[in-house]
């Protein structure tokens, strides 16, 4: 009988900080593309230059989402930036709606 091993993942929240190199490795995305995403405001790392850039954990998810939107829906970078902002706003509104919903 195999013993069930409890898998522990990395929580991708803002307590994690990644450098540009680390995050390109995790996301399997070219550094050039990462720079473009920063230029279009899709990512907002702390730091002035690419080698100083520090990304928070949730940037991983944002990058993956952006790449999916680009590849699947052929959206350009400004469009993706807008789409991500709007999707985040919709999530926020859904959350607020849930608080106002009637419970028992």
């Amino acid at each position: 009988m195999t013993k069930l091993v409890i898998q522990e993942g990395t929580l991708l929240d803002n307590s994690k900080i990644y450098t540009l190199t680390e995050i390109t490795q995790i996301c399997v995305v070219d550094e050039k593309i990462m720079v473009e995403m920063v230029n279009y405001g899709i990512l907002e790392p702390i730091g002035h230059e690419p080698k100083e850039w520090r990304f928070q954990g949730d940037a991983v998810l944002r990058i993956k989402k952006a790449m999916r939107l680009k590849e699947d829906l052929a959206i350009n970078w400004p469009g993706i930036a807008l789409a991500l902002d709007l999707l985040a706003e919709i999530d926020e509104l859904r959350g607020l709606l849930e608080i106002r919903e009637e419970k028992i």
């Binding site: 091993v5 993942g9 929240d13 998810l61 999916r68 829906l73 849930e98």
Partner: protein
């Protein structure tokens, strides 16, 4: 194997032009994209839409497909078994159905999976998110550790646990609780109180995720008022708060005495709550 109806999938008539099909495909792709749609089967529908477009956009494939639908279907079914087996051995899992893979997969086409990563979603109760613990997921029989205080929509990355050495991303969805609502780190609770507790004030027991607490209701409280229990929400630095929203519940006038008491209130405390409405 059943033949798929790609025209129906893309909401187009069989005589539609490629342009018309492309327009419909783009609209459906936007609608069902898993990052955009909240439908539970969005990913499956998105893949179906893509597969249909993959066939119908190519005049040759479309012609072959139309022939199959017209009645060449039986002949196609009689392909030698060896041919089919070759496909399933040569290629790893991709985003297309068996039907597509059998008849439309280009022989030497490198099917790139959209990603080698695997995305899974788990649904956990609020209490488990608050306390942390473990939960089994529907993938490779894995059991994963749920971090204490994990928030709605958080994702865990399990390196190398995806396909072909990709990663596994597990998205955590906290199921609606019958009593508490969670918004970011703050917990909201609708608290029913009696009219006398509201009017006179009271100290009452209030549930929180960490256990019951005594809370003071100030006198002359009104329905909808929010009271804050600082730090009693989800853990963190700083921790979230618990907001208690007062709901005043009036008991029914069941007995003659109760009715008399209500009537007395009406007489001794006349006031018009609808004055602002002009009635």
């Amino acid at each position: 194997m059943d033949i798929k109806n790609y025209y129906a999938t893309l909401n187009v008539p069989e005589k539609a032009t490629t342009e018309e099909i492309k327009r419909s495909y783009r609209k459906l792709a936007r609608q069902y994209h898993p990052d955009v749609s909240k439908l539970p089967d969005a990913e499956a529908r998105f893949k179906e839409v893509n597969e249909a477009w993959e066939v119908l956009k190519d005049p040759q494939k479309r012609a072959q497909y139309d022939q199959m639908r017209a009645g060449g279907w039986q002949q196609q079914q009689q392909r030698p078994q060896g041919h089919q087996r070759q496909y399933s051995e040569a290629y790893t899992e991709n985003d297309f159905s068996d039907f597509f893979n059998t008849f439309f997969q280009d022989r030497f086409q490198q099917q790139q999976a959209r990603t080698q990563d695997v995305h899974a979603k788990i649904h956990i109760p609020l209490k488990l998110a608050y306390e942390g613990g473990e939960q089994a997921i529907d993938y490779k029989n894995l059991k994963i550790k749920i971090p204490k205080g994990v928030l709605q929509g958080s994702q865990l990355r399990l390196k190398g646990q995806g396909k072909n050495n990709g990663d596994l991303y597990v998205e955590i969805h906290i199921v609606p609780d019958p009593y508490f609502s969670l918004h970011h780190k703050d917990v909201h609770l609708k608290l029913p109180i009696t009219p006398w507790e509201a009017a006179l004030g009271a100290t009452i027991d209030v549930p929180t995720l960490g256990g019951n607490l005594k809370m003071k209701i100030p006198p002359n409280s009104q329905a909808g008022q929010k009271l804050r229990l600082k730090g009693k929400g989800f853990p963190g630095s700083p921790p979230g708060d618990q907001y208690v929203i007062l709901q005043i519940v009036t008991p029914n006038a069941q007995t003659d005495k109760a009715k008399a008491l209500y009537q007395q209130m009406a007489t001794e405390m006349p006031f018009n709550p609808r004055a602002q409405l002009g009635v």
